[in-house]
């Protein structure tokens, strides 16, 4: 199974839209940078058709060090969750799979 990376996304912007290589690379960089900056500013990101990046605050909860069995509280934290949009869900659902899992 292959994975999509920023380099391949930039390549497509270069090939399909004619952005030069530097512009294409910077575009992909700033796309993810701006989404990250927005989330780091505690604001949800909604990309219609693709999905929403939401923020959730988790309360402190009791945890355990799995090695020692010692009780260690897990501090309150803020996490990102992704909710795929309907279009993405529909496109992925029909994937026939490769027998894995």
């Amino acid at each position: 199974m292959s994975s999509l990376t920023k380099a391949e996304m930039a390549e497509r912007l270069n090939e399909e839209l004619g952005l030069n290589k530097r512009e294409a690379k910077e575009m992909v960089e700033s796309f993810f940078d701006e989404i990250r900056a927005c989330l780091a500013d505690n604001e949800q990101v909604k990309l219609s058709g693709f999905g929403n990046f939401d923020l959730r605050d988790k309360r402190q909860r009791p945890g355990r060090n799995p090695k020692t069995g010692e009780e260690v509280p897990i501090a309150a934290r803020r996490v990102v969750t992704f909710r795929p949009g309907q279009k993405l869900k529909d496109r992925v659902e029909t994937y026939a799979g490769d027998g894995a899992e």
């Binding site: 999509l4 839209l17 512009e23 993810f32 989330l39 923020l55 990102v80 869900k89 659902e93």
Partner: protein
């Protein structure tokens, strides 16, 4: 932030490109990501996170209106795992 607000920010950041180029770039990137996932490929963006597919086993569901059982096929759902940098930056924002 919505997709159009993101496009506006990118327009400010890339003043050498036309608005049309930026709109098409965002569409092309999101389509590329959707296409990869729909082929069963992962997406790995360093510092941001990775997208992959999770398998959902077939199950018997119920029509909530009629109570009738419905056989639901196995399927794949998209899953996002935030990268270290994103996770840390988001968690740090809780202090502010």
């Amino acid at each position: 932030m919505t997709k159009s607000e993101l496009i506006e920010i990118l327009v400010d950041r890339h003043d050498q490109l036309s608005v049309k180029d930026i709109e098409l770039s965002v569409k092309t990137m999101l389509d590329h990501m959707t296409e990869s996932l729909s082929q069963g490929d992962r997406i790995e963006i360093r510092g941001f996170g990775s997208f992959s597919l999770h398998y959902r086993a077939p199950r018997t569901g119920r029509n909530p209106k009629t109570g009738e059982s419905v056989a639901l096929d196995a399927k794949y759902v998209p899953h996002f795992k935030p990268g270290k940098e994103l996770r840390e930056q988001v968690n740090d924002s809780i202090q502010k």
